[in-house]
Amino acid sequence: MAGLNPSPDTQAALGDQVSGAFAGEAKYQSSKVTEGQKAEIGADIDFRRAEEQLRGLGEANPVVLDAAVNVLRGMASFVEWRGNRISGRAVERARRAQDHEQKLAEIKQRPIEDAEKVRKAEIANEVLRVLELPGGAYAEVRGRSFTDSLRGRWHQHWADVDTRRAKRDEASAEGYLGGAAKLRAAALAVEEGWRTTFGKHGEGAEAARVDAEARKGEAAVASRAAQEAYDRVMAQGPAEAIAAREEIMRTGPESLATQKGIVEERTGNVVKAATG
Protein backbone atom coordinates (compact mmCIF):
# COMPACT_ATOMS: atom_id res chain seq x y z
CA MET A 1 0.00 0.00 0.00
CA ALA A 2 1.19 3.47 -0.83
CA GLY A 3 1.34 6.07 1.92
CA LEU A 4 -0.65 9.25 2.12
CA ASN A 5 0.77 11.63 -0.41
CA PRO A 6 -1.81 14.10 -1.79
CA SER A 7 -0.47 16.44 -4.40
CA PRO A 8 0.68 19.93 -3.27
CA ASP A 9 -2.25 21.51 -5.15
CA THR A 10 -4.70 19.25 -3.36
CA GLN A 11 -3.19 20.06 0.01
CA ALA A 12 -3.28 23.79 -0.76
CA ALA A 13 -6.84 23.56 -1.99
CA LEU A 14 -7.86 21.63 1.09
CA GLY A 15 -6.25 24.25 3.31
CA ASP A 16 -8.00 27.07 1.46
CA GLN A 17 -11.36 25.37 1.65
CA VAL A 18 -10.97 24.60 5.32
CA SER A 19 -10.07 28.24 5.92
CA GLY A 20 -13.02 29.29 3.76
CA ALA A 21 -15.37 27.04 5.68
CA PHE A 22 -14.58 28.94 8.84
CA ALA A 23 -14.45 32.36 7.24
CA GLY A 24 -18.07 32.73 8.18
CA GLU A 25 -17.07 32.21 11.81
CA ALA A 26 -15.65 35.71 11.91
CA LYS A 27 -19.08 37.06 11.08
CA TYR A 28 -20.42 35.64 14.30
CA GLN A 29 -17.60 36.64 16.63
CA SER A 30 -19.41 39.85 17.48
CA SER A 31 -22.33 37.92 18.89
CA LYS A 32 -21.62 37.41 22.59
CA VAL A 33 -24.66 35.19 22.86
CA THR A 34 -23.45 32.46 20.49
CA GLU A 35 -19.70 32.94 20.29
CA GLY A 36 -18.87 30.27 22.83
CA GLN A 37 -21.29 27.69 21.49
CA LYS A 38 -20.16 28.17 17.89
CA ALA A 39 -16.48 27.86 18.73
CA GLU A 40 -17.23 24.64 20.57
CA ILE A 41 -19.24 23.15 17.71
CA GLY A 42 -16.78 24.37 15.08
CA ALA A 43 -13.97 22.62 16.95
CA ASP A 44 -15.84 19.34 16.54
CA ILE A 45 -15.62 19.59 12.74
CA ASP A 46 -11.96 20.63 12.60
CA PHE A 47 -11.11 19.79 9.01
CA ARG A 48 -7.45 20.40 9.71
CA ARG A 49 -7.38 17.61 12.26
CA ALA A 50 -9.15 15.36 9.74
CA GLU A 51 -6.46 16.18 7.19
CA GLU A 52 -3.74 15.24 9.68
CA GLN A 53 -5.49 11.96 10.40
CA LEU A 54 -5.58 11.19 6.67
CA ARG A 55 -1.86 11.98 6.40
CA GLY A 56 -1.19 9.55 9.20
CA LEU A 57 -2.71 6.67 7.23
CA GLY A 58 0.54 5.48 5.66
CA GLU A 59 -0.98 2.31 4.18
CA ALA A 60 -3.94 3.91 2.44
CA ASN A 61 -4.24 4.10 -1.35
CA PRO A 62 -3.26 7.62 -2.58
CA VAL A 63 -6.23 7.55 -4.94
CA VAL A 64 -8.52 6.85 -1.98
CA LEU A 65 -6.85 9.64 -0.01
CA ASP A 66 -7.29 12.09 -2.89
CA ALA A 67 -10.96 11.08 -3.08
CA ALA A 68 -11.25 11.55 0.70
CA VAL A 69 -9.65 15.01 0.45
CA ASN A 70 -12.06 15.81 -2.37
CA VAL A 71 -15.02 14.90 -0.15
CA LEU A 72 -13.66 17.08 2.67
CA ARG A 73 -13.21 19.96 0.22
CA GLY A 74 -16.80 19.59 -0.96
CA MET A 75 -18.01 19.52 2.63
CA ALA A 76 -15.99 22.65 3.43
CA SER A 77 -17.60 24.47 0.49
CA PHE A 78 -20.98 23.17 1.59
CA VAL A 79 -20.47 24.40 5.15
CA GLU A 80 -19.47 27.83 3.92
CA TRP A 81 -22.38 28.07 1.49
CA ARG A 82 -24.93 26.72 3.94
CA GLY A 83 -23.52 28.80 6.79
CA ASN A 84 -23.80 31.97 4.74
CA ARG A 85 -27.32 31.04 3.74
CA ILE A 86 -28.36 30.38 7.33
CA SER A 87 -26.70 33.56 8.48
CA GLY A 88 -28.34 35.56 5.70
CA ARG A 89 -31.72 34.06 6.46
CA ALA A 90 -31.33 34.84 10.14
CA VAL A 91 -30.26 38.38 9.35
CA GLU A 92 -33.24 38.77 7.04
CA ARG A 93 -35.56 37.37 9.70
CA ALA A 94 -34.15 39.77 12.27
CA ARG A 95 -34.48 42.64 9.80
CA ARG A 96 -38.11 41.74 9.12
CA ALA A 97 -38.83 41.50 12.82
CA GLN A 98 -37.20 44.87 13.44
CA ASP A 99 -39.12 46.30 10.49
CA HIS A 100 -42.37 45.18 12.09
CA GLU A 101 -41.25 46.68 15.37
CA GLN A 102 -40.51 49.93 13.58
CA LYS A 103 -43.90 49.94 11.88
CA LEU A 104 -45.54 49.20 15.19
CA ALA A 105 -43.73 52.17 16.72
CA GLU A 106 -44.79 54.36 13.79
CA ILE A 107 -48.40 53.31 14.25
CA LYS A 108 -48.07 54.14 17.93
CA GLN A 109 -46.85 57.63 17.10
CA ARG A 110 -49.76 58.38 14.83
CA PRO A 111 -52.74 60.15 16.43
CA ILE A 112 -55.80 57.99 16.74
CA GLU A 113 -58.79 59.94 15.54
CA ASP A 114 -61.53 57.41 14.99
CA ALA A 115 -62.66 53.90 15.69
CA GLU A 116 -61.58 52.63 12.28
CA LYS A 117 -57.92 53.44 12.96
CA VAL A 118 -58.11 51.79 16.34
CA ARG A 119 -59.50 48.66 14.73
CA LYS A 120 -56.77 48.58 12.07
CA ALA A 121 -54.05 49.01 14.68
CA GLU A 122 -55.41 46.11 16.68
CA ILE A 123 -55.51 43.96 13.54
CA ALA A 124 -51.88 44.85 12.77
CA ASN A 125 -50.90 43.82 16.27
CA GLU A 126 -52.77 40.55 15.90
CA VAL A 127 -50.95 39.89 12.60
CA LEU A 128 -47.61 40.41 14.35
CA ARG A 129 -48.62 37.87 16.97
CA VAL A 130 -49.85 35.31 14.42
CA LEU A 131 -46.68 35.59 12.34
CA GLU A 132 -44.70 34.23 15.29
CA LEU A 133 -41.59 35.98 14.15
CA PRO A 134 -38.54 36.05 16.42
CA GLY A 135 -39.38 38.45 19.18
CA GLY A 136 -43.07 37.70 18.73
CA ALA A 137 -43.61 37.38 22.46
CA TYR A 138 -41.91 40.70 22.99
CA ALA A 139 -43.98 42.26 20.25
CA GLU A 140 -47.10 40.81 21.86
CA VAL A 141 -46.28 42.38 25.20
CA ARG A 142 -45.54 45.64 23.47
CA GLY A 143 -48.75 45.15 21.50
CA ARG A 144 -50.82 44.76 24.66
CA SER A 145 -49.31 47.93 26.05
CA PHE A 146 -49.95 49.60 22.75
CA THR A 147 -53.55 48.38 22.73
CA ASP A 148 -54.01 49.79 26.21
CA SER A 149 -52.65 53.06 24.94
CA LEU A 150 -55.10 52.94 22.06
CA ARG A 151 -57.96 52.31 24.43
CA GLY A 152 -56.88 55.35 26.42
CA ARG A 153 -56.82 57.41 23.26
CA TRP A 154 -60.17 55.95 22.31
CA HIS A 155 -61.73 57.17 25.55
CA GLN A 156 -59.95 60.51 25.23
CA HIS A 157 -61.36 60.79 21.72
CA TRP A 158 -64.94 60.39 22.91
CA ALA A 159 -64.32 62.74 25.83
CA ASP A 160 -63.22 65.32 23.28
CA VAL A 161 -66.31 64.57 21.22
CA ASP A 162 -68.52 65.11 24.27
CA THR A 163 -66.73 68.36 25.01
CA ARG A 164 -67.18 69.52 21.45
CA ARG A 165 -70.87 68.59 21.60
CA ALA A 166 -71.30 70.50 24.88
CA LYS A 167 -69.66 73.57 23.35
CA ARG A 168 -71.82 73.17 20.30
CA ASP A 169 -74.96 72.96 22.46
CA GLU A 170 -73.82 76.04 24.35
CA ALA A 171 -73.30 77.86 21.09
CA SER A 172 -76.71 76.68 19.93
CA ALA A 173 -78.28 78.00 23.15
CA GLU A 174 -76.62 81.36 22.60
CA GLY A 175 -77.83 81.24 19.04
CA TYR A 176 -81.33 80.52 20.19
CA LEU A 177 -81.18 83.44 22.66
CA GLY A 178 -79.96 85.74 19.93
CA GLY A 179 -82.62 84.45 17.62
CA ALA A 180 -85.28 85.02 20.28
CA ALA A 181 -84.09 88.60 20.77
CA LYS A 182 -84.19 89.15 17.05
CA LEU A 183 -87.64 87.65 16.84
CA ARG A 184 -88.79 89.87 19.69
CA ALA A 185 -87.38 92.93 17.97
CA ALA A 186 -88.98 91.84 14.75
CA ALA A 187 -92.28 91.37 16.55
CA LEU A 188 -92.02 94.87 17.98
CA ALA A 189 -91.23 96.21 14.55
CA VAL A 190 -94.18 94.39 13.08
CA GLU A 191 -96.41 95.67 15.86
CA GLU A 192 -95.18 99.20 15.28
CA GLY A 193 -95.69 98.77 11.58
CA TRP A 194 -99.13 97.37 12.22
CA ARG A 195 -99.99 100.34 14.36
CA THR A 196 -98.70 102.66 11.70
CA THR A 197 -100.52 100.80 9.00
CA PHE A 198 -103.62 100.55 11.16
CA GLY A 199 -103.44 104.28 11.80
CA LYS A 200 -103.20 104.93 8.11
CA HIS A 201 -106.13 102.71 7.49
CA GLY A 202 -107.95 104.49 10.26
CA GLU A 203 -107.22 107.83 8.66
CA GLY A 204 -108.28 106.51 5.30
CA ALA A 205 -111.41 105.07 6.75
CA GLU A 206 -112.22 108.39 8.39
CA ALA A 207 -111.58 110.22 5.16
CA ALA A 208 -113.75 107.72 3.35
CA ARG A 209 -116.40 108.14 5.96
CA VAL A 210 -116.29 111.91 5.59
CA ASP A 211 -116.34 111.52 1.85
CA ALA A 212 -119.24 109.14 2.11
CA GLU A 213 -121.10 111.53 4.34
CA ALA A 214 -120.46 114.29 1.86
CA ARG A 215 -121.59 112.07 -0.95
CA LYS A 216 -124.66 111.16 1.07
CA GLY A 217 -125.41 114.82 1.46
CA GLU A 218 -124.92 115.41 -2.21
CA ALA A 219 -127.09 112.40 -2.94
CA ALA A 220 -129.76 113.70 -0.62
CA VAL A 221 -129.68 117.06 -2.38
CA ALA A 222 -129.82 115.37 -5.73
CA SER A 223 -132.55 113.08 -4.49
CA ARG A 224 -134.59 115.98 -3.32
CA ALA A 225 -134.06 117.77 -6.62
CA ALA A 226 -135.09 114.63 -8.43
CA GLN A 227 -138.12 114.24 -6.22
CA GLU A 228 -139.10 117.82 -6.89
CA ALA A 229 -138.65 117.34 -10.57
CA TYR A 230 -140.61 114.12 -10.39
CA ASP A 231 -143.33 115.81 -8.48
CA ARG A 232 -143.49 118.45 -11.05
CA VAL A 233 -143.58 115.87 -13.82
CA MET A 234 -146.25 113.89 -11.98
CA ALA A 235 -148.20 117.02 -11.59
CA GLN A 236 -148.07 117.37 -15.31
CA GLY A 237 -148.73 113.64 -15.74
CA PRO A 238 -146.58 112.62 -18.73
CA ALA A 239 -146.11 108.88 -19.22
CA GLU A 240 -142.29 109.14 -19.64
CA ALA A 241 -141.87 110.64 -16.17
CA ILE A 242 -143.81 107.76 -14.71
CA ALA A 243 -141.51 105.28 -16.46
CA ALA A 244 -138.47 107.09 -15.16
CA ARG A 245 -139.71 106.87 -11.61
CA GLU A 246 -140.38 103.13 -11.96
CA GLU A 247 -136.87 102.68 -13.33
CA ILE A 248 -135.42 104.42 -10.31
CA MET A 249 -137.43 102.23 -7.97
CA ARG A 250 -136.43 99.04 -9.87
CA THR A 251 -132.73 99.81 -9.63
CA GLY A 252 -132.92 99.31 -5.90
CA PRO A 253 -130.41 100.19 -3.22
CA GLU A 254 -127.08 100.60 -4.92
CA SER A 255 -124.10 102.50 -3.70
CA LEU A 256 -124.70 106.07 -2.93
CA ALA A 257 -122.41 107.24 -5.66
CA THR A 258 -123.98 105.02 -8.31
CA GLN A 259 -127.42 105.82 -7.12
CA LYS A 260 -126.51 109.47 -7.18
CA GLY A 261 -125.33 109.15 -10.76
CA ILE A 262 -128.43 107.29 -11.79
CA VAL A 263 -130.62 109.80 -10.00
CA GLU A 264 -128.82 112.63 -11.67
CA GLU A 265 -129.10 110.95 -15.04
CA ARG A 266 -132.72 110.06 -14.61
CA THR A 267 -133.47 113.41 -13.10
CA GLY A 268 -131.84 115.01 -16.07
CA ASN A 269 -133.87 112.88 -18.37
CA VAL A 270 -137.00 113.63 -16.40
CA VAL A 271 -136.27 117.33 -16.36
CA LYS A 272 -135.36 117.18 -19.99
CA ALA A 273 -138.58 115.28 -20.74
CA ALA A 274 -140.56 117.59 -18.59
CA THR A 275 -139.09 120.69 -20.13
CA GLY A 276 -138.48 119.43 -23.57
Binding site: M1, Y28, S31, V33, T34, Q37, K38, I41, G42, D44, I45, F47, A50, Q53, L54, L57, G58, E59, A60, N61, V63, V64, L65, A67, A68, N70, V71, L72, R73, G74, M75, S77, F78, V79, W81, R82, G83, I86, S87, R89, A90, V91, R93, A94, A97, Q98, E101, L133, P134, G135, Y138, A139
Partner: protein, 79 residues
Protein backbone atom coordinates in the same frame (compact mmCIF):
# COMPACT_ATOMS: atom_id res chain seq x y z
CA UNK B 1 -22.66 -8.01 8.10
CA UNK B 2 -20.04 -8.09 5.41
CA UNK B 3 -17.93 -4.99 4.83
CA UNK B 4 -19.22 -4.59 1.30
CA UNK B 5 -22.83 -4.79 2.46
CA UNK B 6 -22.04 -2.19 5.13
CA UNK B 7 -20.48 0.12 2.52
CA UNK B 8 -23.46 -0.37 0.21
CA UNK B 9 -25.80 0.68 3.00
CA UNK B 10 -23.56 3.67 3.72
CA UNK B 11 -23.63 4.68 0.05
CA UNK B 12 -27.44 4.49 -0.04
CA UNK B 13 -27.64 6.54 3.15
CA UNK B 14 -25.40 9.27 1.76
CA UNK B 15 -27.32 9.36 -1.52
CA UNK B 16 -30.64 9.75 0.33
CA UNK B 17 -29.44 12.47 2.70
CA UNK B 18 -31.49 15.58 1.81
CA UNK B 19 -29.09 17.86 3.70
CA UNK B 20 -26.12 17.23 1.39
CA UNK B 21 -25.39 18.86 -1.93
CA UNK B 22 -25.08 16.80 -5.11
CA UNK B 23 -21.38 17.66 -5.24
CA UNK B 24 -20.75 16.18 -1.80
CA UNK B 25 -22.90 13.14 -2.58
CA UNK B 26 -21.03 12.43 -5.82
CA UNK B 27 -17.57 12.78 -4.28
CA UNK B 28 -18.60 10.62 -1.29
CA UNK B 29 -20.03 7.98 -3.64
CA UNK B 30 -16.76 7.96 -5.58
CA UNK B 31 -14.77 7.49 -2.34
CA UNK B 32 -17.05 4.66 -1.16
CA UNK B 33 -16.78 2.92 -4.53
CA UNK B 34 -12.97 3.03 -4.29
CA UNK B 35 -13.01 1.63 -0.78
CA UNK B 36 -15.43 -1.13 -1.84
CA UNK B 37 -12.94 -2.18 -4.48
CA UNK B 38 -10.04 -2.01 -2.04
CA UNK B 39 -11.31 -2.37 1.56
CA UNK B 40 -7.92 -2.24 3.27
CA UNK B 41 -7.76 -1.14 6.93
CA UNK B 42 -6.26 2.31 6.14
CA UNK B 43 -8.66 2.88 3.24
CA UNK B 44 -11.53 2.06 5.59
CA UNK B 45 -10.02 4.38 8.23
CA UNK B 46 -9.79 7.16 5.61
CA UNK B 47 -13.45 6.60 4.75
CA UNK B 48 -14.33 6.57 8.46
CA UNK B 49 -12.61 9.95 8.96
CA UNK B 50 -14.57 11.43 6.07
CA UNK B 51 -17.90 9.96 7.19
CA UNK B 52 -17.27 11.23 10.71
CA UNK B 53 -16.65 14.75 9.39
CA UNK B 54 -19.79 14.42 7.27
CA UNK B 55 -21.83 13.78 10.41
CA UNK B 56 -20.10 16.60 12.29
CA UNK B 57 -20.84 18.96 9.40
CA UNK B 58 -24.54 18.16 9.41
CA UNK B 59 -24.68 18.53 13.18
CA UNK B 60 -22.76 21.80 12.99
CA UNK B 61 -25.11 23.29 10.42
CA UNK B 62 -28.16 22.21 12.40
CA UNK B 63 -26.75 23.78 15.54
CA UNK B 64 -25.75 26.88 13.57
CA UNK B 65 -29.31 27.33 12.34
CA UNK B 66 -30.67 27.03 15.87
CA UNK B 67 -28.15 29.46 17.26
CA UNK B 68 -28.78 31.99 14.51
CA UNK B 69 -32.48 31.87 15.28
CA UNK B 70 -31.70 32.51 18.94
CA UNK B 71 -29.43 35.38 17.98
CA UNK B 72 -32.09 36.95 15.77
CA UNK B 73 -34.58 36.71 18.62
CA UNK B 74 -32.10 38.22 21.05
CA UNK B 75 -31.38 41.06 18.62
CA UNK B 76 -35.05 41.96 18.39
CA UNK B 77 -35.54 41.74 22.13
CA UNK B 78 -32.63 44.09 22.69
CA UNK B 79 -34.06 46.60 20.19
Amino acid sequence: MKTQDLLSQLLAQVQDDPNLTDEVKDSAAELIALVVKEPTPDNLRALAVVIEKLGDTTRYLSALETLETIKATATVNQA
